[in-house]
């Protein structure tokens, strides 16, 4: 189990519940970062954050938030269809 802040780049991860206040979690969920979602941490950004890929979307997330979101390594993603 890792946090998004320390997860390796380019590896599919399965998100778990984030230890953040509800409005924050809602915001993340809106952008696709929800418990049970499969994401990939893509690269570093200016300012210490990271860019997280969820499906086709790209979300820039600050370090402080990344540190509160935990994930486990996902099994090989089953691409349906």
């Amino acid at each position: 189990m890792v946090t998004l802040a320390s997860a390796p780049f380019g590896v599919p991860l399965l998100l778990e519940q984030a230890a953040l206040p509800a409005p924050r979690r809602l915001r993340l969920a809106e952008l696709g970062l929800r418990p049970g979602a499969t994401v990939t941490v893509l690269r570093r950004t200016a300012g210490g954050g990271r860019i997280v890929g969820v499906g086709d979307a790209r979300v820039a997330v600050a370090r402080a938030v990344l540190q509160q979101v935990t994930a486990v390594h996902a099994a090989a993603p089953a691409e349906k269809g």
Binding site: T45, A46, G47, I51, R58, A60, V61, V65, E79, K80
Partner: protein, 699 residues
């Protein structure tokens, strides 16, 4: 195929779209019905196949619009009816009711001869539901698949042959938006040659012959519970009797579980078809948006790119706008003013105070407002371009750390960027921030963003004193503006707004896209007209007030009449406050006084104080420039450069303009606006003095 006589239903209300729409006339030709979900492009199909031979009207006794026309293509000559968009045959709306009424009828003879169901390749699962229902009825069906391009863009590929096999109907891919419906007419012709299929889909799955007494037939299409997983979609027998007796065959009238079971069977069919006929590719997004982002969000390259982009924006703005401004200015101060004077003379008001008011006040004011339109327009257009292309989000990421240092979220970036165009809409733009205290902070910081009105003064002054280096000085002002925003932010957070929380960046990065020019135009126009509306009246009023102040003489008439005017006296009184900053001269003070109300007025009123004419091209200040040089030399005791820089700094920071103050008052209230004014004056003055004193020591 027999020719049947049939009652012609005429609309009881005359249609407003032409003659006789809304009826099916049996004239010996086959009748083709067009059905499909909303938004699949059904109307485009109808328009394309009927060409000009169509009309639209209300179906008799309903408010539902139906199109009817003729389809002539190759060997096909048919009457077409375009039914309203319907997701399913379960009548949740009058549109769906009509569609259902026409497709589910006891009298076979009244059914359309062929039904073309239009579905979307980009949303097969959803748009096939209607098809699944239609396929339960004894109708000849042809499936037309649209939106292939959208599907391809989403990475979905549809195998039409496989789909045809899975559903048991002919499938044709078409592109009605580009007018390509080849193959559809042939498919319909071919379908007309086949017998009407006797088919249905019953939940009980039993093989019912006429006279069957299974629960389905007994209840007349309302039964379930025996949801038999082994009964597949194929091989169902006809339920002609059931259908005939109960035109309400289908989900309508069923109770919940039966409804679900019936719908489930349809979905099973759809799922099987989708499974077999569609495949997904990885999307192309990963490629080039991600590649650009590798630079655009990079810790080092990102900020550099951002600064370059901003620099380019401002260079473009100043260079492209200047000649247009010059032209407009010349137009107003020349032909328009002359024209006004002529008109007034003709009415006998030549030389009166009315002329002064009209020409030097109102016309001059409006003219001044107009000269800023090119500058604003270009600035707004460029900012809109950056937003629409998607780059703004990356810029927000790159500036996030700086934003957080000031205690603002990445989203506050946007109002501040708009502020560089004009502070007035920027203040309103703070509504993007959900938190009231963050909004307050941002509204107080907006005035420190150097708007394009201030730019005009920079250009004039910089061109006068720095010649070839004018552009660099102006750029430096913008950098300083950012510094002041940060400084003021830190100051506010340390004192009055200590309780402000932090919001960390979580921002979606949309794909880069080619900006839509029409959208750009619309946004630019919106902002521009908003500016003209809010600031326009105030600017014109300011010019009129300044004119009045300069016209009213107080006390002994000085050698330069302007000096002894109310305006001049006021400026002289204020001037000593600027001595420590090296420009304690009434001309400069006067310009700043006017600028307190509207920056756009600074240049012209400055010119007025010298009784020279305003330069048509700010890059070539001419007479005004010479006067300025003289005065700055004097007031600074020989350190003109330092004084000029101090002046520019003060101009940057003090208060933007009356229109901005009005906007601020609307957003944060009068009290906080006054706090803002105090903050601005204080900070601007302190930094200006510092600049002058330091500059004096250095030079």
């Amino acid at each position: 195929m027999t020719t049947t006589t049939r009652t012609v239903t005429r609309p009881s209300v005359p249609s407003c779209h032409g003659d006789g729409g809304g009826e099916i006339v049996r004239d010996g030709r086959p009748v083709v019905a067009l059905v499909g979900s909303p938004n699949v492009g059904k109307s485009s199909v109808f328009n394309t196949v009927t060409g000009a031979r169509r009309s639209v009207g209300n179906w008799a006794g309903t408010s539902v619009e139906v199109g009817s026309g003729s389809w002539r293509s190759g060997g096909l000559d048919a009457a077409v009816v375009d039914l309203p968009g319907a997701y399913s045959l379960d009548p949740l709306s009058p549109d769906e009711e009509l569609t259902r009424d026409l497709l589910v009828r006891p009298d076979r003879a009244e059914l359309p001869d062929v039904v073309v169901v239009v579905v979307s390749a980009a949303d097969l699962a959803r748009t096939l539901y209607l098809a699944a229902q239609v396929l339960e009825q004894p109708l000849r069906v042809v499936l037309a698949v649209t939106m292939g391009d959208v599907a391809t863009r989403r990475g979905i590929d549809v195998d039409h042959a496989a789909l045809s096999l899975a559903l048991g109907v002919p499938v044709v891919a078409i592109d009605p938006r580009r007018g390509r419906v080849d193959g559809l007419a042939e498919a319909v012709e071919e379908a007309l040659r086949t017998p009407v299929p006797a088919r249905s889909l019953r939940p009980c799955g039993c093989d019912c012959a006429p006279g069957c007494s299974c629960t389905c037939c007994a209840a007349g299409a309302t039964a379930d519970a025996k949801a038999d997983p082994t009964a597949g979609p194929a091989g169902d027998a006809a339920h002609l009797a059931g259908d005939a007796a109960h035109p309400d065959g289908g989900a309508d009238g069923l109770d919940g579980d039966d409804e679900l079971a019936v719908a489930d069977r349809r979905f099973a069919r759809i799922a099987a078809a989708v499974e077999v006929a569609t495949s997904r590719r990885g999307s192309a997004r990963a490629d080039w948006t991600d590649r650009v982002d590798r630079v655009a969000t990079h810790p080092v390259a990102g900020p550099l790119l951002f600064l370059s982009v901003m620099w380019a924006v401002f260079q473009l703005t100043t260079r492209v706008a200047a000649p247009v401004q010059g032209f407009l200015d010349g137009l107003v101060s020349g032909p328009v003013s002359d024209g006004a004077r002529w008109l007034l003379s003709a009415v006998g008001l030549g030389g009166s105070w009315v002329e002064g008011l009209v020409v030097d006040g109102v016309v001059a004011g409006v003219g001044m407002l107009l000269t800023f339109v090119p500058l604003m327009a270009i600035m707004f257009a460029l900012l809109a371009l950056l937003e629409d292309s998607g780059y703004m989000a990356r810029a927000a990421v790159v500036t996030d750390r700086v934003m957080r240092a000031v205690g603002l979220p990445g989203r506050a970036f946007l109002p501040l960027v708009v502020g560089f165009g004009c502070n007035v809409p920027a203040v309103s733009a703070t509504r993007v921030l959900p938190d009231a205290r963050q909004r307050l902070l941002t509204v107080l910081l907006v005035p420190f963003t150097s708007c394009s009105a201030r730019l005009t003064v920079y250009v004039l002054v910089a061109s006068t004193f720095f010649g070839a280096h004018a552009g660099d000085v102006v750029f430096g002002m913008y950098v300083l503006s950012i510094v002041l925003v940060v400084l003021a932010g830190l100051l506010l957070r340390a004192t009055l707004l200590r309780a402000l929380g932090h919001e960390d960046l979580v921002l979606d990065l949309p794909r880069y896209q080619r900006p839509a020019l029409r959208l750009l135009g619309a946004v630019t126009w919106t902002r521009l007209s908003a500016f003209l509306r809010t600031a326009g009246g105030i600017i014109v009023a300011t010019v009129v007030v300044v004119w009045a102040l300069s016209a009213i003489q107080i006390g002994e008439r000085a050698q330069e009449p302007v000096r002894s005017s109310a305006y001049g006296r006021l400026s002289t009184a204020i001037a000593p406050a600027f001595t420590p900053a090296g420009f304690g001269d009434w001309h400069a003070a006067g310009a700043l006084t006017v600028g307190f109300v509207a920056k756009e007025a600074v240049v012209s009123s400055w010119a007025q104080t010298y009784a020279t004419s305003e330069p048509a091209d700010l890059h070539q200040p001419g007479g005004l420039g010479a006067s300025l040089r003289g005065d700055f030399e004097r007031s600074s005791g020989g350190h003109a450069t330092a004084a000029v820089l101090a002046f520019l700094v003060f101009l940057l920071g003090y208060t933007p303009c009356a229109a901005t103050l009005a906007a601020q008052r609307r957003e944060i209230g009068g009290r906080w606006t006054l706090v803002g004014v105090g903050l601005q004056l204080g900070l601007a003055w302190s930094v200006a003095v510092a600049v002058f004193q330091l500059g004096r020591l250095i030079s």
